[in-house]
Every structure is written in C-alpha cells, then in structure tokens.
Symmetry: C2
Subunit: 289 residues, 2 copies
C-alpha cells in the first residue's frame, strides 16, 4: 500500500504524540517534529507508510539516546496479556469454531498498537475483546482454514508486544489444525514502537515451541527491502504467510505471495484501502494468494 | 500568543482540508501540502499561528489561481445570517440584559469559521446559538459594559463572513449603550479563508452606518506588522478594541492596548492559553487593558 496524503498530517500528529510519550524534553519534541515535517514534505508517496514510521522512531531513539523507549510498555502489555491467556485459551477451547474464535481474539489483541495511539490501556483491551467476539468478521475464515490445512511451510508475522500472546492462542489453534512441516514466528530484529521482538516472543511463551525468526529490520511492518536475506528467503519459500496488524498490511498488501492479513482496521486510510469501516475485524487474502 | 508544537500537526491537517475544499486537483493537494510541511518545519514559533494561516491560504490562492476561493461560502453564510437577523434582534430586544444576549449571539456566530473546520453548516449554527444562550459565559460582561460606556473611540475587529451579521447585532446594542464619538468596524483588506472583507460588511448592512476600516492585510487575524499604517494608527488611538474570534485572540492577546476578546474557544491550544474548556464562550480583557 502506498502512502496517501492523509497519512502526512497523521505522521506529524503521531510524531508529536510518540516523542512526548518517550521524553518530557520540549527541545527534543521540537527537534524531532521539525525533522519529520521536513521528511514528510519530501516523502516518496510510492513507499508504504511504515517507511516513515521507521524514520520517525529511529530519529526518536537517536535523539533521546534511548534504544528501546517502549520497553516498559511492552513488558506491561506482555504481562497483561499473559494474565488473560488462560481465559483466552478457555474461550477458544469452548468455542463451536475454535479457529474463528482464536482469529477474533488475535484481532482484539491488535488494539495494543502504540503506533496508532499512545493511550491504549487495560480497559480498551477488555472492551475490544468483547467487541471482537461479537462483531462481524470481514473476510473468510474458511479460506484461511483450507490454506492452513494445505500448507507445509507457514510463516506467522507477529505485530506488537502483548498482542503476541493473543497470537500465541491463534498459533496454538492453527497448530492443531495444520499438518505443516514447519511454522516460524517472524518478529522485528530491533525495537521499534511496541512491535514484538524475540524478547517478546520469549515472554509470550512461543520460544522453544516454534522457531522465532528475526526479520533483520526495525520497520513497524515488513518492509522486505529492509529485511535480512535469510528472512526474505523464508518469506519467499513459505506457502502460507499470516501477516498480523496494520503495519504488515501496509507493507505486504501487494506482495506476490500467499499472504493472509489478520488485523483490526484502525485508521480511515487503511479502512478505505480495504473497503471497510474503521474498527472492522479483517481476515483478508492478499493479492498474491 | 505564540505558536505551540500542537499547532504544527493542526496546520498540516487544516492545509489538506482547505486545499481539498478549494479544488479537486490532487496534484495541487500534494504541492500545497508539501510546501506547508516544509514551512511548518522551519516556522518561527514566536510568531502567532495566523502567520502560518496567512501563508497556507496565500499559497492555495496562488497555486489554484483562485483569488477568493471561499467567496461562495461567504455569501451563503451572509445570507443565512441575514435570514436569522430579525430573530437575533428580537431576542436581544426582549432580553433582561441586551448586551449579554448580544454578546452570546455574537459568540455563537463565531462557529462560522472555515479556518478551524470546512464542515460548518446551518444545523451547527442553529445548535450553537441555543448553546451560546444557555452555557456559562467565561469573563465579565460588566467590565466590557463599563469600558464601552467610557470609550470615545471604539474599534470592533470583525472575524468571519456570516458571523459579521451576528456582530452587527452586538454593534447595534453597543451603539445604544455607548456615547462614543466614533466606532469603526475593522475587516480584512484581501480575502483569506472566510474572513470578512468590506464586501461582507456591506452585505451585513454595516456600511453607511459605521465606518468600515480595511486593515491592509490578508492574515486570518490581526497581525499588526502586516496591517497598513492607517489601520495601525487607528488601533493605537482606539480607547476600546473589541476583537472577535480566535485569529484576533491569537494575534492580539499580548497587545499593549485596551482589547476585549469575544470568541468561542474552538481549539485545545487556545482553550489551554485561556485556561478554559474547548467550546467555552469567552469575554476576556487583554493583557494591555
């Protein structure tokens, strides 16, 4: 997905919100904001929006000297989600269609996205869970189920910390369905916003059970050109990619590979691109599937 | 009032909204947005926010070749307000305190501000009128009444087209109270957004009854350094200035003159500067009063 003009004011707003979240130093707020205004004015709109997210958050880390400003928030939401885990697993086990319920809960976990808003809290997570179990699912669970049954090499691209525990429930459910030779969970190599890294995959209880595959990148999405050759090879080899969250949709929507996108459409530009309402629960086959 | 960092994302958002309001040409949208991102990145934050509004709307007029893109909307809201005028005048005449009611209605008219939002409509005006008659007024009507009684040379700085008909009701009410030798109504010399010009003062029925004083400027506020020497002289000589709307507050809040600000606080930055809630109805003495 390219960058739309509507993304540009949003980048500027997000920058101010993010830099204020990371530091109280107003001189740093101004420095970062001015640089992003400049960069947004020159941005190549053919690039996916996470290219700017990568620039914004590299700059914040560089100017503040804080290599992982969201570390505390990531740990907090990992703990919150782990506390919820027994309830999530119970709901899936008791469901008429465990895969659909696991998908719904994984989409609910997508609310834990500090790229969209720095004001996510426990109540938002609880409310989103209830809504995600109730609202219509846009897309086809059956198509994903069939693709999962037929796949031999599955790559699950995680999105954010905390959310990755919700993903674990979906991965466990998929693992009972599918007969794949291998399933890897892709994570970011370097911290960016609250995106999940190998540390979060470990905290979520995924490490040791499935391969954790670092993608070589610090973009909040999967900008393949910034990923390692090893990751790109695995991405190209997988016969099913499940790509979680907005950043992965933005960066992989036109990828010529069998990608299923699982996300909540949290911004009007993405909702417009998907042809749905803001807030919709999405299970969508990519163009290359 | 200086420009705050929060104003910068808002300038960018307003630019996109304004240029889309003026033309459907997406190349123009991109050109104007990129230039404003650049300019916002370099802005001197000691300047009042309307300095950027002036730049944004000069640029839109220049790039589109449309010298007065809001002309139709200004005429529409002048007509709407003139239709309301008999009702406004009746309400003031029937009020226990005509000056307070006229102030409340003039503040209601301040909702007709296409600088803040391009989606004002008839219903918003009607709802705002009812709210403005009911909500608490922040500030002192008595202080303004006393200043008006004592003033000999009054300058009323109008804000927007349409709104200027609401101002007419306040000016008529003031004129019954005060014993001033002269009362002039200040308007913009050149079109900018939907700000009132001499043409709108005429449409509102002010011309011929009071002096209409063009300020020499196309800034959406009163940036004295961009006003004519004649206007600046009158501003300096007036012993009471009534400055209407946000743009005039932003540009004159620190003026060393007896200025009363009459406005609705429509943005969080201005509400913060005034120490009130967004939406508050304000009658406020300036620092130099």
């Amino acid at each position: 997905m390219r960058t739309y003009l509507d993304c540009l004011p949003c980048f500027v707003r997000q920058t101010l919100e993010a830099v204020r979240f990371v530091t109280d130093d107003e001189a740093v707020h101004a420095e970062v904001l001015r640089e992003i205004l400049r960069a947004a004015g020159e941005m190549d709109l053919h690039m996916a929006p996470p290219a700017m997210g990568q620039h914004i958050h590299r700059l914040i880390r560089q100017v503040t000297g804080n290599a992982d400003p969201y570390r505390e928030v990531k740990q907090r939401f990992n703990r919150l989600a782990l506390d919820l885990y027994p309830d999530l697993a119970r709901r899936v086990a008791a469901a008429d269609d465990p895969l659909e319920t696991a998908l719904r809960l994984a989409i609910a976990g997508n609310i834990i996205d500090f790229g969209v808003s720095a004001s996510v809290d426990e109540q938002a997570v609880a409310e989103t869970m209830e809504r995600a179990l109730r609202d219509p699912l846009v897309g086809s669970v059956e198509t994903l189920r069939q693709a999962a049954i037929e796949a031999d090499d599955v790559l699950y691209l995680a999105d954010n910390a905390g959310e990755i525990v919700f993903d674990r429930v979906l991965i466990e459910t998929l693992d009972q369905t599918l007969d794949a030779d291998r399933l890897a969970v892709g994570v970011k190599s370097e911290p960016v916003i609250n995106d999940a890294t190998a540390e979060d995959a470990e905290a979520a209880g995924l490490a040791g059970r499935w391969e954790i595959l670092e993608n070589g990148s610090d973009a909040p999405g999967t900008l393949l050109e910034t990923c390692s050759p090893a990751f790109r090879d695995r991405f190209a080899a997988a016969d099913l990619v499940i790509a979680k969250g907005q950043g992965n949709y933005e960066t992989l929507s036109e990828a010529p590979r069998p990608v299923f996108f699982v996300l909540m459409a949290k911004c009007p530009v993405i909702a417009g691109h998907l042809g749905c309402e803001v807030g919709s629960l999405i299970v969508r086959q990519g163009a290359g599937t």
